[in-house]
């Protein structure tokens, strides 16, 4: 059975893929993760998550262009699928609904 739930880390990676757009390949995503969260992550771990998300059908990928920094090797560019977008949205809506039910934050949240 294919796992279709979205983990927290996976959600972040999925969002980063969306943010980076055409530049979303493993190394870039790992760098972006570091600069956005301040936590460092190995390229391997990022790649593994990307692979998993692709397996779940939230991402698709194709080989992109090669650059000199890469020794002339091509990169794999990831992009979000329609299913991925829907899952992201559902995830956000679910959390917002939870936030709204939390009285202590209800007033301050400005969604």
């Amino acid at each position: 059975m294919i796992e279709t739930r979205l983990g927290e880390f996976e959600e972040v990676i999925l969002l980063l893929v969306g943010i980076l757009g055409e530049g979303a390949y493993a190394y870039r995503i790992a760098e972006e993760f570091k600069s956005q969260t301040g936590r460092s992550i190995s390229i391997g771990a990022t790649h593994s998550t990307l692979d998993r998300l692709e397996g779940k059908g939230f991402l698709k990928s194709e080989m992109g262009s090669a650059t000199a920094e890469r020794g002339g090797r091509r990169k794999r560019i990831f992009s979000i699928t329609a299913l991925g977008k829907r899952v992201l949205k559902e995830s956000r809506d679910f959390k917002v609904s939870l936030w709204e039910q939390y009285p202590a934050f209800k007033v301050n949240i400005g969604y």
Binding site: A26, Y27, S42, I43, A68, E69, R70, G71, R74
Partner: protein, 869 residues
């Protein structure tokens, strides 16, 4: 673009390339390199390299690394193929397969039966929870020259042991098994029982199905075994009243689970309180009498107590308590642990007799040998055929088989045969077990749920198939295919030699088994031909077990019986003619050497006992009512007469009780003990007032059925409650041969199976030899060889082997048979005639099994064999 100062570490790159899945290599290496150069700009190149390594290590994840088991597995298919090929081979060579499987199945069945029997014998009594802590008190005693070992003790022994020996947790005194007549609702039944003290239940962990074992403390309460209670009373036996020996009414206080069949008390159907036993006699006299050695004593040792330390404490207990009479027999106590009760409970000159244990090992080894014979067939036939299969191996190798596949193929083929044989052998065992149980007087069943049994059979199947399959599997699979296919390959002598040796071994074992069986029968016949000294045909006896019958007027009973006309003569005696006798060492006579205390067996009887039983007189005369002095007369046998000295007629013999009796007649020695042992001195005297046996001799031409019916009626007239159970002397006498005849029957079966197995093995080998030489025989016949010459050619190889086997087997068989015979005091001489017969028969039998194939080959048309290619 900046000058590149460093490059990514090559080793890390190489490692990654080796481990990473090919389709990921480009993007991953690209990513890492980009990362590396970016790091180089901000960090030292060392740190960048370190980071590269870190990134590589982080790629060693399941999603990214190669799947190393590249080729898809086909072992399931191969296994199926092995079995299919094996199956086809079974049918292609159906003769060999039948020989292999029948031989092996027979051997396995024999080994299984014997194994079950040995297991049953060795596990005797192990069902008792305290098996390792129970012992029986025995004593070595001496009567002059004769040393005996007995399991009899006096009653006060129990109390003494309880008080003085700390090593014993429990001690119990019981009687020997005694027959009891139990009467419930006017149907008397005879069952066997023990009078026991309450501790019996603890020591032997009696399992109560109903009621309580505490009843053994009472007097008029008894415990019945489950099966007996059901048979006599039915369900809910507890609380019912039964009449015991037509004497007392007792209550059934409990029902215990039957003792297992292979245990000491298997035939004990009723347990009675020892208090009841003492209450029947004179209690004060019984409980304190150290002289009355008529009881058994069992002890339960404390945990972690050694037998040896307790042994010392009972060693001289009896001799210190007894009177001079008791001291005279020098009793020396010992403890016999439960593990030795079944096989080592008989002693001779203080040393345990190992006959029973030896028999088990003897048959155990016969089982192993028969199995070995069957395995040898299996191995011989597979090595013999291996030459033919060498070509198959060559072709298979050319087609691309690897060696391990060939090994697997041969092993699975032999496994197939072994499993088939095993299934058949289980079937054979299952069918023959009831019959085997009758023969061995056992109740063995196949222990399906016994872990040891299952693992032993599993181990056995694996070992046999490995043994039999190992030669073709490991040797043939190593051939060079080119040599084999070119035909230059020949299986050498070193394969043929072991095969020949195995054939010799097979025949040696079979001939020895046949020889020993012959000796067993010769020995039985020898003992059967021994003069018995009394009449066996048409004589039967009835036990007197009730008081009313024993007190009945003997003379009027006798008159009533003789009046029927069916009975020629009748008498009464304390012991029956085929039963045991009591013995006395305290008699004296004039001129006796005071130092010698010969033990002489005694039987008291009515005047008519010698005439009823047809005693043969050598000197003097029979008891006669005409002489009133005959009530103090004595008839002795020849051995006793020899002890008393010359001219014994008229000699006065003095008994310990003070009575003096005069010898009036000497009879021929009789067989009163096992016909295989030396007989003893014994004598008969006249006495009427005792329980005992009534002996009847049928009148000539009288109908047995009518006689039995009329005597039954007469006995009922004198005592309504007496059961009528009779035994014919000839049948009872034959009982003495039961053990040896059982050995003889078992030996016959095993020896014939051994011969059959060896025979079919030889049949297979000769068929193979003939088929291998088909061409040669064809050419020889074309050149003018006669059928006889060809037959000789094919047979002489095997004949040589059989002769060698005979040369080994005959002396070895002689030695073994001689050893077996030494356990008997009365034994046959080994005759060379028997050996000659066995030898000739063995050669003849083998020639027949070889000749079938050789003649077939010799008489075939040479055109057919030469044209075949």
């Amino acid at each position: 673009m900046k000058q590149r100062t460093s490059i990514p570490p090559l080793h890390a790159q190489r490692l990654l390339k080796r481990l990473l899945r090919n389709e990921l290599a480009e993007e991953v290496l690209g990513d890492l390199e980009e990362k590396f150069y970016e790091s180089c700009e901000t960090q030292s190149s060392f740190r960048a390299k370190l980071n590269y390594w870190y990134q590589v290590m982080n790629y060693l994840r399941p999603f990214a690394i190669k799947r190393f088991k590249t080729s898809p597995s086909n072992s399931g298919d191969m296994l199926q193929s092995y079995l299919k090929i094996g199956w086809r081979n079974l049918f292609r060579n159906s003769t060999y397969s039948i020989i292999n499987i029948t031989g092996l199945a027979l051997g396995m069945a024999v080994a299984l039966l014997i194994g079950l029997w040995v297991y049953d014998e060795l596990s005797f009594n192990t069902s008792f929870k305290n098996y390792n802590r129970i012992a029986a008190v025995y004593h070595h005693i001496e009567f002059g020259e004769d040393k005996f070992t007995i399991g009899d003790v006096p009653v006060p022994m129990g109390q003494e042991l309880r008080e003085t020996v700390a090593e014993f947790e429990e001690t119990v005194i019981t009687t020997w098994p005694k027959e009891q007549i139990v009467d419930f609702e006017d149907t008397p039944t005879t069952i066997t029982g023990l009078f026991v003290e309450p501790a019996f239940a603890t020591i032997f962990s009696l399992e109560m199905n109903a009621g309580s074992a505490a009843a053994l403390k009472e007097i008029h309460a008894v415990l019945l075994s489950q099966s007996t209670a059901e048979k006599i009373i039915g369900p809910d036996a507890v609380g019912k009243t039964i009449r015991l020996n037509n004497h007392d009414n007792v209550v059934v206080a409990g029902v215990y689970k039957d003792f297992p069949n292979n245990s000491e008390f298997a035939n004990i159907q009723i347990l009675l309180p020892f208090n009841y036993y003492t209450a029947m006699g004179d209690p004060a006299q019984q409980v304190t009498n150290w002289e009355d050695l008529n009881f058994q004593c069992f002890v339960l040792l404390n945990e972690n107590t050694s037998l040896a330390s307790a042994d010392l404490k009972i060693k001289s207990l009896l001799i210190s308590k007894g009177s001079d009479d008791l001291k005279a027999i020098k009793p020396e106590g010992l403890l016999l642990p439960m593990a030795r009760w079944h096989l080592y409970n008989e002693f001779k000159n203080r040393v345990p007799i190992e006959t029973k244990a030896n028999l088990i090992w003897m048959f155990g080894s016969v089982g192993v040998f028969v199995l070995l014979l069957a395995c040898i067939n299996f191995m011989n036939l597979s090595t013999a055929r291996s030459e033919r299969r060498a070509r198959e191996v060559g072709v298979r190798k050319v087609m691309g088989s690897v060696r391990s596949q060939l090994i697997n193929q041969f092993l699975s083929e032999s496994l197939l045969v072994v499993v088939a044989a095993f299934v058949i052998s289980m079937l054979l065992v299952w069918i023959s077990l009831p019959w085997f149980n009758t023969l061995t007087v056992k109740q063995i069943s196949i222990p399906w749920n016994n872990f040891y049994f299952l693992s032993a059979t599993f181990l056995f199947i694996i070992t046999t198939s490995l043994l039999a399959g190992s030669y073709p599997a490991f040797y043939l699979s190593g051939f060079n295919p080119i040599k084999v296919l070119k035909g230059t390959f020949k299986v050498g002598k070193w394969v043929k030699r072991p095969r020949q040796m195995l054939v010799v071994f097979q025949f040696t074992v079979s001939v020895i088994l046949v020889l020993c069986t012959g000796v067993v029968f010769q020995q039985i016949q020898h003992a059967k031909n021994r003069p018995v000294g009394f009449l066996r045909q048409g004589v039967f006896f009835v036990a007197v077990r009730t008081q009313d019958l024993s007190l009945a007027n003997y003379n009027s009973l006798r008159a009533d019986v003789l009046a029927t006309g069916y009975i020629q003569n009748m008498s009464k005696s304390f012991f029956p003619i085929t039963g045991s006798m009591s013995a006395d060492a305290s008699i004296t006579w004039d001129g006796k050497d005071p130092a010698s205390r010969p033990l002489i067996a005694l039987n008291s009887c009515s005047h008519d006992f010698p005439s009823t039983n047809g005693f043969e007189f050598v000197a003097g005369r029979d008891f006669s009512r005409a002489y009133s002095t005959d009530s103090a007369a004595l008839i002795v046998n020849e051995m006793a007469a020899k002890i008393f000295g010359d001219d014994v007629i008229g000699k006065k013999i003095k008994f310990a009780s003070g009575i003096e009796r005069e010898i009036i007649g000497v009879i021929k020695d009789q067989i009163r003990w096992s016909p295989f042992t030396n007989q003893s001195a014994h004598m008969y005297f006249v006495k009427y007032e005792e329980y005992g046996f009534l002996t009847f001799r049928l009148a000539e031409g009288a109908s047995t059925q009518a006689a039995l019916a009329s005597i039954k009626g007469i006995i009922k007239k004198y005592d309504q409650a007496a059961p009528f159970e009779y035994k014919f002397v000839d049948e009872d006498y034959n009982r003495l041969f039961n053990h040896e005849e059982r050995i003889g029957k078992l030996a016959t079966i095993f020896a014939s199976l051994a011969i059959i197995i060896s025979g079919i093995g030889l049949l297979g080998l000769s068929a193979f030899a003939a088929s291998q030489r088909t061409k040669e025989i064809g050419i020889r016949k074309v050149l003018g060889a006669s059928v006889f010459q060809v037959w000789k050619l094919l047979s002489q190889d095997f004949l040589k082997l059989i002769l060698i086997a005979l040369l080994v087997a005959l002396p070895l068989g002689y030695y073994l048979a001689h050893n077996w015979l030494t356990q008997y005091e009365y034994r046959t001489n080994l005759s060379w005639g028997l050996f000659a017969v066995v030898g000739i028969a063995a050669v003849g039998l083998m020639l027949i099994s070889i000749s079938h194939q050789s003649l077939k080959a010799a008489s075939s048309n040479p055109v057919d064999s030469l044209r075949s290619e």
